[in-house]
Symmetry: C2
């Protein structure tokens, strides 16, 4: 247990002062960086931006973690929940030298320091939050709630790693963070690293108090014991030395972590689950900053959230107070006259890759390996002719995922993250080789459950997403299968991850990150036993809106296409791949060779389904998504049967962005290929899996976009038959056939007759649905399903 | 304290059996509803759908709540987190007679019972979840996580109401639910009703165990004491009478609630916050259902989640087991031969509006009042000429909101829900008349904080949304101001609310519900001191995808338009109104009379900004959103100055859906008006606040959609100047002017010269940004902001 010498304590205090100085100076100073001259208005930045409130607490935690790293030689990753406390994190990367190594223009001297201050939150400089630009970070924190989930994901399969995760009491109010405390039930101390949560209570958000900040110690201790933590509380207002107290708390926490790990790694079994340590640091908001101004408290209140003194240029007294505040950190003592940190202080930080600002975990990972992939064609479904065999796409994919687990067993770098739906989504084959991970006690009736499982099932889309992000950002691979409608729960998390990826692409030193792969199944069109709440394809639109160099959207129409697409996605880096495919038994269209070619091109004419593949068609029938494909092919069949002189061409789109003009998305088809497929002016009837909006957008910029007539999900749904679903949304084969006839360039002779026949069919369907309660048919046995 | 007589206990047991019978029979039977005949395969539904696992526990809770209601005459609202347990909820509405009163075809006799069973989860029947079709419900539960927040919102300002909120252990794993426990810190026992959470632990989700289900009692008790609850545990496996135990727990909980309320309502102050009661019911999943099948446990395991016996038609032994199970509920005893519940049992349920299936709270509310609105024109900003004065739109709106609080003070039916941003969003005027609501202890330095406040600030968008939904669905009014980028946190909650509203419109007995009003400010274009993580306008797309009869999107370009739009929204019912408007000081365009007219029409030509208002223009410059409006007007000014012979027309769109063809949205402009404004074929340069995708969609179906050339947010952002933001996204006045020249129908003479001048300006800007670190300008002082 640490009993630090007075010298060591003094040095820690000095290092903390140095970092607090750099944090405050980033907010305030454009010149006079070491305060060698008296502070003048001209030294102050013209616009004061940045968040002071959380920064001194972050600096305090950081210097103490440094001490522990030096003492233990352990691997620590720093996750900064209050990412707007960038002045603190940046200050430490600067003190450790990593900032200069990463950005050589920011030298470790007076001039470098001036630029370091100037660039903060300035146009042409760096963002005001801990962004991808910050060395050592995998977590921006601008949107709060995900720090603890990121930390847990990062330590999975990284047994040597401890993620120190600072959580502000603002962030602690969010739902996703509240749901993240129980991540400890899914971390296996034998194979995974550890998360050390440090809950930093400074009492306020932007302008109001925080709930946790007002709770007494015993209430918090009870709460966290319920979550499986042993709480160590450090209070800034205690009379005893705060540094000594923090050092002891960290040493205790570290020892408890190592004890739990050693116990587990020696294969011992505990009777009761171990309590992981958690540190609560209670400190004033804006700690060590200005105490009062004009009779109002600043330190310890919401008034220090951003810039505590805002009128320093105009108000001489305030400028004096600022100078007094900045000088209280003794820059002239802690830095040499040429702006270097005093060697005695610099020696406090770890060196090389042990520096939290330089850990390889935070930039592509350590000991990383591309995923070993089996040959996806091994899992091919036999398709002798289109529409003659039935398969369940996800069940076939499950076999490939099973083999991926086996092939990469020695690297321990692949996991499935899923909200309790792996079996429901028919990926069960994976349970032949792995299990669901769970650390609570097991019961006789449990199936496929073990602390060693690599399938992470928790009924929280937020946790699945947060863990997976943490896992990927540290260089490993994964997939997130989810019910389609409920993936929108993590819309905003996806947004932030896509922004992170986009930013990383612009930062030369950022290494490649394995892609985030979504498999959305149990989709909107096949909710036979759920209903309207489970019917929502909107995630496609959310993904499509992000930067085109990071997003990919695939709608494989059958099992072989699903395999080809997933093979491609799982091998890729730096993307978000969205794959939407049903799990239900359905007709198969392409053999593996055709599927491979089709997926590579993104969209193609399915010649066997139409009758005008070469010459100019009267109408093009296009589709994207498995259910729309079935309906379009059925519509084509109906048209060929009832109106054989109508020239139709059938097109399937598997890579949605192929529709986009190339200048808007790298997967966009060349103009000539687009014209070959869709012609330049033939009317197109397009059946789409999602909301039609996005297709209207994608074809904007293509020849004659107005000729595209769309059908898709129009927010009509309930618990009903699959065929009734397409009728309700006016996307049934009959609707499509009628639309094709009405819009075809050349009117076929018996047009009216055919339309009337199709309308009759729809009337019969509606009667059938009304009569369902009388007849009680098997709704799997949907009357109109046969082509 | 309840010590129930044996008779009473027997009756409760019988009522529970009757409801369990109806729940199981809804899943299985299409005929022989009272089992008068031996059970045959022909009596079984052809497809077995529904969720049994949670149903008997829900029935158990329901009958006990009924006992308490009868004993106390209290107002209880039943919130069913496990909404897929609809068989149980529906069973109770049927037993109480409410179902028959609501749907007279489902009579209270044998034939009605048969239809009641048949309709469940059948095409043409009712959904498989507790949907808007279910009397007494304000909560569907298909997407888990929001039950407790809905319950809290429902009891706000309903002092007589107790919301009994059943939370499954699956739902308890979600982030939003975990974040909802602390709703009790925001409920004031003096003025609000109470939430009684009933955590129903049955141990399993779809196929895996639940975290909470595996935690020991003492761990859960500690956890919930940390959240401010006094936990009462009822265990189904206890040897003592489970009914007696549950009755005592409910009586205890009820007494504790009334004690807390009485204390508060008598104006007494407590030294420590009261612990609200919470009941944990531990019962087996699929309780009272089949115990085993072929050596595997069903009751008490995940195997009873949905349909516990699936082969009853084909397997004679299984059919026998089903019959034995169903008969164990003694339908022949509990129902009369003609299918009525035995009078002695029927007498157990409350009557009239006390029935939880009939409480008026769940259908439009009790004692409801339209919001009294001040005359919005009172808050008009003086605009003598366009672009000459500056105002902050949200600051003006704050004054109107302040007066709404005052005007509706006696009805206590209006609140603001906001994630700690009321001041940041410049709505502070409301703090002249009310405060932030907070129930923890207050400190000297707190500002605008009180248990009586009507501004609900919590750093959780999920809680803000959930509380507001609960508040609205019980007939009150509210508004949710939020940072634009972070509203996507509740995308999926909005989806479900929009679906609920859409469904309610199709149900004649559902009463009107006040609209859900979003005010998105601190928007993507003005994040001077945050950055890329705070830049995301995607919520517009999420809203636009929902059913057009419930969604409205407004982008008021200035303060007067914001006031006119918000007046309209706050008075409306049954919609989701999305309003996007900045908070920063900005130029004002319209006086109140003009603003009112403009907002009513949705889009109009701003004649003063163009030079071709009557004749045919060479190019139309259109805009939607405050920043795009500024840039378009500046572009028009530049064009008129540099190319005076170019005929331009400026159009502003305030009601986004006005662009849509009328068949797709009721706000869609008539074709003739659209043509009057945009012409039929003139090129349009359109600057849009959000992603351009949606405009491409909205104009699809209008004459010559390909002529619309869009500029908008293209995922470029960082901490920079407002003007740099529009440059980065190619939407600056110079970009727009160049695009207008390049696309104008008639080429002006000095075209090349003008383009080159504008390109020079952009180069100068880029140099300026690069030099910012040298010059350190005030970034509010953006060099190109003046028109």
């Amino acid at each position: 247990m640490a009993t630090l010498t007075q010298d060591h304590l003094n040095n820690i205090q000095a290092y903390w002062e140095a970092s607090n100085y750099l944090a405050a100076a980033q907010i305030y100073l454009q010149d006079n960086p070491l305060l060698k001259d008296p502070l003048l208005p001209a030294h102050i930045k013209p616009r004061l931006l940045g968040h002071w409130g959380t920064s001194p607490g972050l600096n305090f935690i950081y210097v103490h973690l440094n001490r522990l790293i030096k003492a233990s030689d352990a691997d620590f990753l720093f996750i900064c929940g209050p990412g707007h406390g960038a002045p603190a994190v940046l200050a430490n990367t600067f003190l450790e030298g990593t900032y200069t190594e990463t950005y050589p223009d920011i030298t470790q001297d007076e001039n470098g320091m001036r630029y370091f201050f100037r660039q903060f939150s300035t146009p042409g400089g760096i963002p005001s939050h801990v962004s991808a630009h910050t060395p050592g970070s995998i977590h921006e924190g601008g949107e709060l709630g995900y720090s603890l989930a990121h930390a847990a994901g990062a330590v999975m399969d990284n047994p040597a790693l401890i993620a120190a995760c600072v959580i502000g009491d603002g962030e602690a109010e969010t739902g996703p963070l509240a749901g993240s405390w129980k991540s400890n039930c899914f971390l296996n101390p034998a194979r995974d690293g550890a998360v050390l949560p440090i809950l930093h209570l400074n009492g306020y958000k932007i302008s109001g108090p925080t709930v946790m900040g007002r709770l007494p110690d015993e209430t918090l201790t009870a709460l966290f014991s319920g979550y499986g933590y042993n709480t160590l509380i450090v209070r800034a207002d205690d009379p005893i030395d705060i540094h000594q107290e923090m050092a002891m708390a960290l040493d205790t926490a570290y020892e408890q972590i190592r004890e739990i790990q050693q116990f587990a790694r020696e294969g011992k079994k505990s009777n009761s689950p171990s309590l992981w340590p958690l540190i609560i640091l209670r400190s004033p908001k804006g700690w060590t900053g200005p105490v009062m101004w004009k009779g109002k408290h600043i330190e310890g209140t919401f008034r220090s959230h951003q810039v505590p003194l805002t009128d320093v240029v105009k108000d001489q007294d305030q400028l004096a107070l600022l100078e007094q505040w900045l000088r209280s950190y003794k820059p002239e003592q802690h830095f040499t006259p040429d702006g270097k940190l005093q060697p005695a202080l610099a020696a406090l930080a770890p060196s090389g890759n042990k520096r939290m600002s330089a850990v390889p975990y935070a930039n592509g990972g350590t000991d990383v390996h591309p995923l070993r992939m089996p040959d996806y064609t091994n899992y091919a479904v036999s398709v002798k002719a289109p529409g003659e065999s039935i398969a369940e796409g996800t069940r076939e994919l499950g076999k490939m995922l099973r083999d991926i687990f086996e092939l990469n067993e020695d690297h321990q770098n692949f996991r499935i993250f899923c909200p309790d739906e792996t079996s429901s989504n028919r990926l069960d084959a994976v349970f032949e080789v792995t299990e669901r991970c769970f650390m609570e006690h097991l019961l006789d009736n449990d199936e496929h459950l073990s602390p060693d499982g690599r399938v992470m099932e928790v009924l929280s889309e937020h946790l699945c997403q947060g863990w997976l992000e943490g896992y990927l950002l540290t260089g490993r691979h994964g997939i997130f299968p989810c019910y389609e409608a409920f993936i929108t729960i993590i819309d905003s998390m996806f947004n932030q991850h896509a922004k992170w990826l986009k930013t990383c692409r612009e930062i030369p030193w950022r290494k490649d990150i394995p892609s985030l792969n979504y498999l959305l199944t149990s989709h909107s069109w096949r909710q036979d036993h759920n209903g309207y709440s489970h019917q929502g394809p909107g995630f496609i639109d959310t993904v499509a809106n992000k930067k085109s160099n990071v997003v990919r959207i695939y709608l494989p129409p059958d099992a072989n296409c699903l395999l080809a697409v997933m093979d491609h996605c799982l091998k890729s880096y730096n993307y978000v791949n969205l794959v939407v495919a049903g799990k239900q038994p359905s007709l198969q269209w392409l053999n593996m060779e055709e599927a491979t070619k089709h997926c590579a091109q993104g969209a193609s004419v399915w010649e066997w389904a139409g009758n005008a593949n070469q010459g100019k068609p009267d109408v093009v029938l296009a589709c994207a998504g498995d259910v729309p494909t079935l309906e379009i092919i059925a519509a084509a069949w109906l048209l060929r049967k009832h109106l054989p002189d109508l020239k139709i061409r059938v097109v399937n789109v598997v890579d949605l962005m192929a529709l986009s003009p190339k200048e808007y998305h790298p997967h966009g088809m060349e103009a000539s290929l687009f014209s070959d497929i869709f012609t330049d002016d033939t009317p197109v009837i397009f059946a789409f899996h999602g909301y039609v909006r996005i297709i209207h957008d994608l074809v904007h910029g293509r020849p004659h976009p107005a000729r595209f007539h769309l059908r898709g999900f129009m927010e009509e749904g309930t618990t009903t038959t699959p065929f009734d679903m397409v009728v309700l949304n006016r996307m049934s084969r009959f609707h499509l056939a009628i639309a094709a006839i009405e819009r075809a360039e050349r009117k076929p002779a018996n047009e009216a007759e055919a339309i009337s026949y199709f309308e009759d069919k729809l009337s019969m369907h509606n009667i059938y649905i009304r009569e369902c309660l009388e007849d009680m048919p098997d709704i799997r046995d949907w009357k109109w399903s046969d082509i």
